[in-house]
């Protein structure tokens, strides 16, 4: 009997240790990016957010990451505008007609889209929107990000819509509301926090993507923002390029940009936590 207890003790200790090992890296990543990035942002001050990065030869200048911030804001915003209506309407379809064949197909599709490598999305958008026009554009980057976002918005919205109590919906029909009114005023009204939560998670995802932008938005850092039909930078893209460059001061800019990305992500994450996914009655 002693050996059974001993095995149990060893089991408890090792599970606890392994669980700690599993979560330790995320704490270290947050810590490491903060100690490397925060001093850079503090040193740059306001300029870090408003200026363009220096050329590689100007080693004493820190400059800023304004093109990356502008590009990320623009492309994420446009991607949201494209993705949300499509994904929300598709999830309304799934929630309203749960037994329809198209619902089964779109559910399976969305699950597959979640697993599609984002670099694949990037090169397909390259083939469809960059090759024909012969130029990298911010719009192409936004379309690629929209494809990344759609399955997230779809999944969370459907979950939120399905969690609306039947009694609310039946009551709405009972007072003579039409189907469209029930959907848009009652079901979506009750589920709105869950829908917004899904959108927030999707935005956080899109904002943190690098691969879909490599060959669509491509990057441009000589001005803050050239317009939707010009190549565009993004925070992730800039980190990816700068950290691989041989220039020490570009590495520092990459760390500063990484810290900003981390702060943006943590903010969106906290917002999504405050929005409860399912309807509480």
């Amino acid at each position: 009997m002693v050996s059974r207890k001993l095995v149990d003790r060893i089991f408890t200790v090792s599970v606890t240790l392994l669980a700690l090992v599993a979560v330790l890296p995320i704490f270290h990543i947050i810590y490491y990016i903060t100690i490397k990035g925060l001093p850079v942002v503090l040193e740059g001050g306001v300029n870090f957010f408003t200026q363009i990065p220096p050329s590689p030869i100007r080693v004493n200048e820190l400059g800023g990451i304004a093109p990356a911030i502008a590009g990320t804001l623009f492309m994420t915003a446009v991607a949201t505008v494209i993705a949300v209506p499509i994904a929300v309407l598709a999830s309304v379809f799934s929630a309203e007609y749960p037994n329809h064949n198209l619902t089964k197909i779109v559910r399976a599709t969305s699950r597959s889209l979640l697993e599609v490598p984002t670099i694949v999305i990037g090169i397909v958008v390259f083939a469809l929107l960059v090759m024909p026009f012969g130029r990298f554009t911010a719009i192409a980057g936004a379309v690629a990000l929209a494809i990344v976002m759609i399955p997230y918005v779809y999944t969370y919205t459907e979950l939120a819509l399905l969690s609306v109590p039947r009694t609310y919906i039946e009551a709405a029909y009972g007072i003579g509301m039409k189907r469209a009114q029930v959907i848009y005023m009652v079901t979506m009204g009750v589920a709105r926090r869950g829908i917004v939560r899904g959108i927030t998670i999707a935005i956080a995802k899109a904002m943190g993507e690098t691969a879909p932008l490599l060959f669509t938005a491509f990057g441009a850092r000589n001005m803050i923002f050239g317009g939707p039909l010009e190549p565009s930078d993004a925070i992730t893209l800039m980190i990816y390029v700068f950290i691989q460059s041989p220039f020490e001061h570009w590495h520092r800019i990459a760390w500063g940009a990484a810290f900003l990305l981390l702060v943006l992500y943590l903010t969106l994450f906290l917002i999504s936590r405050r929005l409860v996914g399912e309807v509480r009655v």
């Binding site: 669980a19 007609y97 198209l102 694949v120 397909v124």
Partner: protein, 313 residues
């Protein structure tokens, strides 16, 4: 739709929702068909089988009529993807099972919500941040404290046989990916673990089992979910791009030694796609790589879903 009477209003609602829904389906088909369309030229020129089984990558501007042998083989990148993802899953599996069990069985109830939030936080973290950490911290750490000692002490083993030249290697990418896929694997395992009926759990406790025996019994009931988590982890690990491209070394080489740099299917696309204008068929070869990833990703994904459905309580 089998409603006895459908009003015209309902029809309008139905038909107005069909286009966006179809559009989502069309996106996936477009992704697949575009890849296929752009892959076909390279299959025509050097053969489908050769594209995936040849260990040779010589970008060339000469027309394909002059090619003596295939120029664009993806074999080392497929191997690289398997190797890197395999290491990631092997490391992540025990950690993920432990974390899931820890949250469900050992952690006091009031802390469970925070721990689950932490897992969600890990899952959504921008992947480039993992890559940055892998490149500047994890790689050098592994090189100094694992790769070099292992090479000196156990260099006779093929997997440790090559001299570690830098922190970027198959091993570094595998360890970094393990960290990245843990939250996804934990989510799958934890969800199934939670779904085990309370009556089963109470019956298990009533036998006087120790906690170890109890957890082992519970885990044995959700083996399909654990396999499914492995498949999901493999899918996630093989499709990650930017973070992997930062730490995998980006060298076209077929290697069994885990200290060697390599290319994965995703990193070769990221590293070479910018130069496709110069080499006429390289773009098609890279699309063929994407096609392979997409196809196998979907097969793995479908297998995972089928497995999860097999769990019935």
């Amino acid at each position: 739709m089998s409603y006895a009477r459908v009003s015209s209003h309902d029809k309008i609602v139905f038909y107005s929702l069909v286009p966006p829904t179809l559009f989502v389906v069309l996106i996936l088909m477009t992704l697949f068909l575009t890849q296929l369309y752009h892959s076909i030229p390279i299959f025509d020129v050097q053969g489908l089988l050769n594209t995936y089984t040849v260990n040779r990558w010589y970008p060339t501007q000469s027309p394909p009529e002059l090619w003596k042998e295939p120029h664009y083989g993806l074999l080392p990148t497929i191997w690289g993807t398997i190797y890197v993802s395999g290491i990631a899953v092997l490391l992540a599996l025990p950690l993920s099972i432990s974390l899931a069990v820890f949250i469900e069985e050992l952690l006091p109830r009031r802390f469970r919500g925070y721990m689950s939030s932490l897992v969600d936080l890990m899952a959504g973290t921008p992947t480039i941040l993992f890559g940055l950490w892998g490149l500047s911290f994890l790689g050098p750490l592994l090189k100094e404290f694992f790769m070099e000692p292992a090479h000196e002490g156990l260099g006779f083993l093929p997997i440790f046989s090559c001299t570690p030249l830098s922190g970027t290697s198959i091993l570094t990418a595998g360890v970094m990916l393990a960290v990245m896929i843990i939250p996804f694997m934990v989510a799958v395992i934890q969800e199934s673990y939670k779904a085990i009926p309370v009556t089963y759990k109470e019956a298990a406790w009533s036998l006087g089992l120790t906690r170890f025996e109890y957890v082992r019994l519970n885990l044995s009931m959700i083996v399909p979910a654990i396999v499914s988590a492995v498949l999901l982890g493999l899918g996630r690990a093989s499709s990650e791009t930017a973070a992997v491209a930062l730490v995998v070394g980006n060298i076209y080489a077929l290697s069994f030694c885990m200290f060697s740099p390599t290319h994965t299917l995703t990193s070769i696309i990221a590293a070479n796609f910018g130069e496709v204008e110069m080499y006429p068929y390289m773009r098609n070869a890279l699309f063929a790589g994407g096609l392979f990833l997409l196809t196998f990703g979907m097969i793995i994904n479908a297998m995972g879903i089928v497995l999860l459905r097999r769990i019935r309580f």
